[in-house]
Structure formats: structure tokens, C-alpha cells
């Protein structure tokens, strides 16, 4: 499990890449990945390309990020989700809160 984050050159986009299992074990790392930036970006991107697994506490972490990013005004995008991950997001209807691709 690892979480890496990177801000775009113009500072408007923060990309968080989760690798391996996205579960309670990545809780602190995931929070740090966006809380440590001083400047608030406009867009948050969660890249799940190398995430192998996602559980309900991961869904909770996505909600925390959304809350941090401004709740209903937040622009949080979840990208590169595998079909399994997409299924989990679909059951919870998280596509109503996040832009999932």
C-alpha cells in the first residue's frame, strides 16, 4: 500500500495515486496526501490505476476528501478505476457524488 500525491505546475490540480490495497491501513497516508498542502487546489483527482482493492473504509476516506474539498462544491474525480473497483463504487452509488471514470 502506498499513497503519493502531486500538485500540477499551475497549482490548480492535486492528484492522489493510491497503490495496492485501499483500505483502513491507508487512512493516515491518504489524509496526509491532501492535508499537507498549504494551497487549496480547484480539482482533486484520485488515481486508482494501481489500486487492487477497495473496501468501505476507503469509501469513507473518499467522503472525507470530498468534505475537505468543499463538500457539495467539491470537484473530486476518481480515475482509472478497474471494473471490480467500479462495481463497488456503483453499489454505493458514489457516482452521484464523484466524477468516476
Amino acid at each position: 500500500m502506498s499513497v503519493e500525491s502531486e500538485v500540477s505546475l499551475d497549482g490548480t490540480k492535486l492528484t492522489i495515486a493510491v497503490k495496492g490495497r485501499f483500505d483502513f491501513g491507508s487512512h493516515q497516508a491518504f489524509r496526509d496526501s491532501y492535508e499537507r498542502f498549504y494551497k487549496v487546489p480547484d480539482i482533486y483527482v484520485v488515481d486508482l490505476k494501481e489500486a487492487t482493492y477497495l473496501d468501505s473504509s476507503a469509501l469513507g476516506m473518499l467522503l472525507l476528501l470530498r468534505d475537505h474539498a468543499g463538500s457539495d462544491d467539491a470537484d473530486v474525480r476518481v480515475i482509472n478505476s478497474s471494473s471490480d473497483v467500479r462495481k463497488i463504487l456503483a453499489i454505493s452509488n458514489f457516482d452521484k457524488l464523484f466524477d468516476i471514470s
Binding site: 469509501l59 453499489i91 454505493s92 452509488n93
Partner: protein, 565 residues
């Protein structure tokens, strides 16, 4: 380095003196013995922390003494270093077998002896720490289990105040401590005898997952007993969880209302795996798909309480399950999965055994059932006598109102978003004489109110509900027309009069619709009435003097009661 009490057992007086001097010079306290028997006695009396033991001694040799000392020491590590001039492997192996931890060969070297004593002391202290921590963990664990037992006992009082165990049409599989995995299963009757069932799954494990269950259960039982429908109950649950839970906690849930009278099931699924309506006659399964975000995520203003309604026949079953069922993994980390579940459904020939089939398939797949597996089967059985309301009254009855009337007019904007039935029922149950018939009263009010709304104000044709497709159309149209409603009304007139021994309630409901041909509808066979919905036979069974007037736009029923004993 700590200073130890060291027992030296050695039959040669010269060696004993030499060793005692070396050890004492290193700062330790020394006890001595000249044979195994004596060593045992000194050990029992003084409990030294380390033993230097000669192998060959009179009376009792070092091997036997070492064995007995190790036994006396129990879990505490008392290192024994054998003093020996023996050098053959076999002799050294005997020392180890007897429980020796190390050897010291003659001639004795003070530096090597000091090193060995230090090494053994570190080992001894490590062992002591491990034991202490083990005991601490065991105490914490015991404490945690005790807390869970108490929490569960309190919770059971709340959670099982419903009909989960009493209802003969519910079967379920749930570990007793599923609560601490966040799983929650609740069931209760509405005043009209419908059954509400909730299967929920909180995020996370342990106490945090269990904490949210309590308020959820309170809302579920309170609102179900008062006659609130799914939509209002869901709204209240969602708003409450949203308010009290941290942002990253929520509750996936399926809430359903099974009506044996109307032969339908109404379902809301937010975040749970597909449940199923299993039609016994055709073997067909309708998946109950999650269409909503879990409870506790959305703000009340944007929460979606939209439900779906499916027809059911006698003997049909609804299955709900938690993700523990689908995620049950076998020894090779293969998941049980939806496919296998559907295969069990497909292979089943006896609907009575379907529940066991699933249970066995799960157990067979993994070897045992996980403790976060929740599975519930609810069958539609012929309706039973109405269940007494679960509400407990605390007033004496002295102040019961017996001579009054009241009229309401609910207009379009209200009809769209408000269900007045729970409020009206509360009002009527101020009358003690009516409490014994609260179930019948609520059923009749509910039927007449929904007739007035759906067939009267909204102008829906009950004949639509002849088949499954029509059924879906009916409820789709109902929602569409209600959303667009701009005029129309339902009036409710309540008139309560005292009679000689008791009293009489007359309840009149009028609507702004086009009315209907009362004669024709009443002449329909019972089954058609039941399926396609005015439930008029039910109304006639449960109340006295049912009369329609104004071309079907107005209906009046009476409920009378005798004086209470």
C-alpha cells in the same frame, strides 16, 4: 546490569569457593548448595534468579535438580548454567534435556562467566516482560469482551423489541456479535400489520460500527409502530445519522415494507448488495438493486427517499444479504461471489429449502460461516390477525375525550409531501376504547386514504396493476402525477360521540377526484380486488357500516366500542 541472587550448586568445596568469589565480586548475592537435594531446598526457600549447577553431585545429581527447579519456576525463566568438565556431546545433550540453558566449562574464566550471567539476565528480563505484556493483553481482552457483552445486552433490548424472532415468516442467519461488525437486522409490524425489515451495514468494525446502530434502531421501531411509511422513516434515519456520524462513517441499508394484505413489497436499497424477490411459481428472481447512496451521506435537502414496489404472490420470498455473503473467501482467497449465489437459486427445486441451500453452500465453500455474514429470508404468508400496536401507554384513561369532531382538508402541496396518517392515528388513539382496534383502524384509514389519493385525486386506474409490468407502470405514474399535482384535496372528517356504554367514531374521507362506480367495483371477485387494489373487501371486513356517497367520492366508516372493563 541488574544485581541478581545466584544459587551455586557444587559438591567440590574448592570450586564452590572459587565460583562464589567470582560471582560475589561481580556484585551479585550468592547462595550455595553442595548437592541437588540441597539446591532444591534453597531454591524453594529463596527463589534465586539464576542457578549455576554442577552436573555430577551426590544425593541428587544436577540433572534431576535442574528438572525440578524448572518445574517449580513455572512460566518464570530461571536460567540454569551447567558447570561441567564433561565434554562429550551426549553428556551436554543430557544437560539440555534436563532444562539447562547454557554450559560453563572448567577451568572457570571470570570474564566468560560474567558474559554468560549478563546474557542470561537479559533473556530472563525479556521473558518477564513478555509474560507481563501477555497478561496485560489478556486482561484487556477480557475487559473488552465484557464491555461487548454488556453493550450487546443493552442493544438487544432495543434491537429485538421488534418481531425478528417471533414472526414465523422470517428466517435469518447472523452471528450473535455481527453488531460489532456493523451488521444490523431489524423487523417490526406497522399498525396495519405490514412488516418493515431493515438490513444495515455500518462502515468499519468494532464499537464505532455498533454505536450508530442504537439511534437507527430507535427511529426504525418508533416510526414503524406509529404508522410512518418507508419514505418518512428513511428521511429521519438519514438525517439522524448525517447529524451524529463522522463524515467517513455511513450505513448501507435495505429497508422494505412487506404487505400481506396488498401482496406487495416496497423496497429502498442504498449501498447494499442486490437482494432478490424470488417468485416461487415461476422461479423468477427480481434483483433489488441499490439505487441510492448509503444512509448518513447526503444532507436532508438532497436525500432521495424514492422506493420501488414489486408484486408478490403467497409463498414468494424476499432475500436480503450483506456483503459478507458475497465476499466470503475460501482457502485460496477465491470469493463466493454473486454468480455462485445465483447458481444456488437456480439449482433449488424446493423453495422451502432455499435458505438452507444458501447456508450450506456458504459453509461448504469456506468450511465455516464468517461472522460478518447476514442473510435474511422473508416469506409472504397468508395474513395473520392484526398485531397489537407496540406502543405502550402511560396515561390512566380518566381524561379520555369522548365528544368531539374535527375536519381536515389536505390540499395539493400537502398531499405531495406529507402523510397525515400517523398524526391522525395518534389523535384517535387518545380514545382508550379505540386502542384495542388500532390495527384495524389504521388499516382502514390507510386503504381509504390511498384510494382517495391514488384513484381519486391522481385519477390512477387500479386495473393497471394486473401484471408485473402494469404494476411498475402504476407506481411510476403515481410518482409522476404526484410530482406534478397542482390542485385537488382530500378531506377527513372525524366525529366521536359517546354512546350508552362506550362510544362511536365515524370517519368520512372525501376526495376531489372523479368518483367511481361503487356497485361494479364491489361486485368484483376477492382476488381481483386484492391484486388490483382498492382493498375494499379489507375495509368491509375490518369496520362496520361502510357507505359510499357522492358517486364514490365520499366514503364513511364507523368504529364502535363498549365500555372498558
Amino acid at each position: 546490569m541488574s544485581l541478581l541472587t545466584v544459587l551455586i550448586a557444587e559438591d567440590s568445596a574448592a570450586d564452590l569457593l572459587l565460583l562464589s568469589t567470582i560471582v560475589r565480586r561481580q556484585g551479585h548475592r550468592v547462595l550455595t548448595a553442595t548437592n541437588g537435594q540441597q539446591a532444591l531446598e534453597v531454591f524453594t526457600r529463596e527463589r534465586p534468579q539464576l542457578v549455576l549447577m554442577d552436573a555430577l553431585m551426590p544425593v541428587m545429581d544436577g540433572f534431576e535438580a535442574a528438572r525440578q527447579i524448572k518445574q517449580l519456576a513455572g512460566e518464570t525463566l530461571v536460567p540454569i548454567i551447567f558447570l561441567t568438565s564433561l565434554s562429550g556431546s551426549q553428556a551436554l545433550a543430557r544437560c539440555l534435556d534436563a532444562g539447562g540453558d547454557d554450559f560453563l566449562a572448567k577451568p572457570y574464566n571470570p570474564i566468560i562467566l560474567a558474559a554468560k550471567i549478563n546474557a542470561m539476565d537479559r533473556l530472563r528480563r525479556l521473558q518477564a516482560t513478555v509474560l507481563q505484556q501477555r497478561d496485560q493483553i489478556a486482561r484487556h481482552h477480557e475487559y473488552l469482551l465484557h464491555e461487548q457483552r454488556v453493550a450487546k445486552a443493552v442493544f438487544d433490548k432495543v434491537a429485538h423489541s421488534g418481531c425478528l424472532n417471533a414472526a414465523r415468516n422470517i428466517r435469518y442467519l447472523q452471528s450473535p456479535y455481527a453488531l460489532f461488525n456493523g451488521d444490523l437486522l431489524l423487523a417490526a409490524y406497522t399498525p396495519s400489520g405490514d412488516m418493515h425489515v431493515l438490513l444495515g451495514d455500518f462502515t468499519g468494525h468494532g464499537l464505532p460500527a455498533a454505536v450508530g446502530a442504537m439511534p437507527l434502531a430507535e427511529v426504525f421501531y418508533g416510526m414503524t409502530a406509529k404508522g410512518y411509511g418507508l419514505a418518512q422513516t428513511l428521511r429521519e434515519m438519514n438525517a439522524k445519522l448525517k447529524r451524529i456520524l463522522p463524515v467517513d462513517m455511513f450505513c448501507c441499508a435495505t429497508l422494505l415494507c412487506l404487505s400481506a394484505q396488498r401482496r406487495v413489497v416496497e423496497v429502498w436499497n442504498g449501498g447494499m448488495p442486490d437482494g432478490y424477490v424470488h417468485e416461487v411459481a415461476t422461479g423468477r428472481r427480481t434483483p433489488l438493486v441499490s439505487r441510492h447512496l448509503p444512509l448518513g451521506v447526503l444532507a436532508p435537502e438532497v436525500f432521495d427517499d424514492c422506493t420501488q414496489v414489486w408484486p408478490m404472490a403467497l409463498g414468494d420470498r424476499v432475500f436480503l444479504l450483506s456483503d459478507g455473503v458475497i465476499d466470503t473467501a475460501d482457502a485460496n482467497e477465491q470469493l463466493f461471489g454473486v454468480e455462485r449465489l445465483l447458481q444456488v437459486f437456480a439449482a433449488n427445486r424446493e423453495p422451502e429449502r432455499l435458505f438452507e441451500d444458501i447456508e450450506q453452500a456458504l459453509a461448504g465453500f469456506r468450511g465455516e460461516v464468517r461472522d460478518d455474514v447476514s442473510l435474511v429470508e422473508i416469506s409472504l404468508l397468508p395474513e395473520q390477525a392484526l398485531h397489537a400496536s407496540a406502543i405502550q401507554y402511560t396515561d390512566s384513561g380518566q381524561s379520555c375525550p369522548l365528544d368531539w369532531s374535527v375536519s381536515f382538508e389536505f390540499r395539493a402541496e400537502t398531499l405531495k409531501r406529507y402523510n397525515p396518517l400517523p398524526y391522525l392515528l395518534q389523535l384517535l388513539l387518545e380514545i382508550h376504547g379505540l386502542r384495542g382496534q388500532s390495527g384495524a383502524l389504521y388499516s382502514v384509514m390507510a386503504e381509504l386514504y390511498s384510494n382517495a389519493l391514488e384513484h381519486g385525486v391522481l385519477g390512477l386506474d387500479s386495473r393497471l396493476k394486473r401484471d408485473v409490468q402494469g404494476f411498475a407502470d402504476y407506481y411510476r405514474q403515481r410518482n409522476e402525477r404526484l410530482a406534478l399535482l397542482s390542485n385537488g384535496y382530500i378531506r377527513v372528517h372525524i366525529d366521536v360521540l359517546p354512546t350508552g356504554a362506550g362510544g362511536c367514531l365515524s370517519l368520512r374521507i372525501e376526495d376531489s377526484g372523479a368518483g367511481f362506480d361503487v356497485e361494479t367495483v364491489l361486485a368484483r371477485p376477492l382476488d381481483i380486488d386484492r391484486l388490483s387494489g382498492r382493498g375494499l373487501n379489507l375495509v368491509r371486513q375490518l369496520s362496520s357500516h361502510v357507505r359510499w356517497s357522492d358517486g364514490g367520492r365520499s366514503v364513511c366508516v364507523e368504529f364502535c366500542w363498549e365500555a372498558l372493563a
